[in-house]
Symmetry: C2
Subunit: 382 residues, 2 copies
């Protein structure tokens, strides 16, 4: 077993122990995790089939149903970040040739288009300028025109800060035999959500925003209607890692090994969900709303304005217009380097036009706003 | 924004703070993480585009090249567990219709077959009884017969404990214009590996075995030859999350946002790799070999025998024959419940016939062996 080839040391860096600056994360995510949640990460892993871990998986499933307000049996956390959970909804619901109608009013609508195409969907889109939302009438017309198998909408568009109203959408979908797929990445835990009452069939989210957990284990849920489509597939799910027909046997009572879960992230997610349940959803949503209104007032006090119409603004993420003549990137860089505060820049249609400010999970606190405003007063040109 | 639907509290569990038993993980993985690595998880996340994080990504890339002994520029960690990294090698290299030849001598060979089929490969297999390996002659004959675009082999079969020799395989592959894809999940960090000297084109691994890190961020590498095949694809990679043509722009100098990385897992992986580099690969491999030989002797001392021929046994994972008349599952359960030691059972052809004992990363220590043997003396029938 002695190697006969000599070892190449050219990439053998000599490093000091990890040193990471402490930031206040007020961008589009990740947000700072709650200290209790972070502490849970520092617990020695157990095996992915250990009875203690299986019990924890059950707790995660129940609490995810609570925060999403659903009774869907197939409600789990996917072993990847929010994008993996997004891909899980597409991979499991789309079969080649299915018409998938996607509402595109921002970056993540476009991502859904790209993904659905890779799974062989016949993709149709309706679009709106970034920062606006679709009316029920517009959705109805599009459903009539395209009669899709799936309608995919973004509840909280992370790139624009707009909240898509969902009331009435599912009734339309039922009329056309369409499944409703919803991106709740930037809404879960921070924005009122009622998946079952709204008739949503597939949804995904992330851990590092409204739930106040580090990124890496991502909520996924599927209604019995969507599960039926999965069972009736003519083809295997075109993604092994995210195949719910296999994953449901690991999360369900069979406990069939599928892959080694990111154990410590599940510890963290369980703690994050426990804290949300302790606070209570109504309180949690109200806290996000109260703090974001304080943010909007405070930003207006220093002469800034919001991009999205007030009625459709998210409590979790705000797009703030960059004033004429101000170098948005330079300001963000100064906030990071001089004040250890991260905010985000604009994407796509909004690149260079807005900053994105998140107040999510543990970071949705009055002190976060006060710190940001104090720093902005220093870095913005007077 | 006040919700007009009432909140359903039926899934709102009232939980106590997390309590997880402390286990010695001597199964097929995960292994216990090094305490320094675990501590790094408890560091507040920064943004995935923070300069401090981008610098850490570069460190991870260099150190992964070192542990794999490769100079491949495209060497990264995938944001998922080992199975996601496995799928990344298949998704990025296989185009529909490509002939993919897979060596199946265990569970993970079969998984490759299932995955490659989902990406449209024309899958061919060669097989061996579980616990054996392929000879160069057998591989040559199979390459001549199938002339595949890709040959996929498992370097360290986690289900059998056998080590597939690689010397000479790449020369054959070059003859037939075949890319060589290698599963190094249970070898990286614990078994001598020389990707470049062996001519391997695609490889994947995990964090929670030889590297002594929690699971969730998984090594992936691709040679320039494999990258050329990726660039020349006629079709998009049929997996958005794992598409290296997009991911390479985030890990490369462009730093184009792709998805939110599991930040804290990258902290841990960086620390795990730093510790391997500090110890040095040669020392690390020797430690694994010395401790596993001590394990084999100690197991023989209490009357147990190994399943794999000595020459091909892995230093990281040992399959131990369950003696006639012994209930293997009951013994494993007793070890867990009475001694807090996890070992694994057999899979597939070896179900009920072997236990799987891992000595990997931080757990490859004399004390791990002593603890296991002392416990086995108590639970095995005399």
């Amino acid at each position: 077993m002695t190697p006969t080839i000599s070892i190449n040391d050219s990439q053998r860096l000599q490093l000091s122990p990890l040193e990471i600056p402490s930031r206040l994360l007020l961008g589009p995510g990740p947000s700072n995790a709650h200290p209790t949640v972070l502490q849970a990460m520092n617990t020695s892993p157990v095996g992915h089939l250990d009875p203690a871990f299986l019990a924890l998986m059950d707790e995660i499933q129940s609490l995810l149903r609570y925060v999403w307000q659903t009774e869907n049996p197939l409600t789990i956390a996917v072993s990847g970040t929010g994008t993996a959970a997004m891909e899980a909804t597409i991979a499991n619901s789309v079969e080649p040739g299915d018409v998938v109608l996607i509402g595109v009013a921002g970056y993540f609508g476009n991502r859904l288009v790209d993904m659905a195409g890779r799974y062989g969907a016949d993709v149709r889109t309706i679009t709106k300028p970034w920062g606006q939302v679709f009316s029920l009438e517009e959705l109805k017309t599009a459903l009539e025109t395209h009669r899709p198998a799936i309608l995919a909408l973004v509840h909280a568009e992370t790139s624009t800060g707009a909240r898509q109203p969902l009331e009435g959408v599912a009734d339309l979908c039922r009329e056309f035999g369409t499944l409703l797929l919803l991106d709740t990445v930037t809404s879960l835990g921070g924005v009122p959500i009622f998946l079952d009452a709204w008739g949503v069939d597939l949804a995904y989210s992330c851990s590092q925003k409204g739930l106040g957990c580090p990124p890496g284990a991502s909520p996924f849920t599927m209604s019995p209607r969507a599960a039926e489509k999965l069972q009736k597939r003519r083809t295997k799910v075109a993604n092994w890692y995210l195949d719910m027909s296999l994953l449901s046997k690991y999360w369900g009572s069979d406990r069939v090994y599928h892959h080694t879960a990111p154990i410590n992230l599940y510890y963290a997610l369980r703690e994050a969900l426990r804290l949300v349940a302790e606070e209570g959803l109504a309180n949690c949503w109200q806290r996000h709303q109260k703090n974001v209104e304080y943010l909007w007032e405070s930003l207006e006090d220093i002469g800034l304005s919001m991009h999205v119409e007030r009625e459709y603004r998210l409590p979790t993420l705000t797009t703030v217009r960059i004033p004429d003549g101000v170098d948005g990137k330079a300001i963000a860089r100064q906030l990071l380097n001089e004040h250890n505060i991260e905010i985000g820049g604009g994407l796509g249609e909004l690149a260079g036009k807005v900053w994105r400010v998140g107040l999510m999970g543990f970071n949705s606190r009055k002190e976060s706003v006060d710190q940001l405003i104090a720093a902005l007063r220093q870095v913005l040109p007077q």
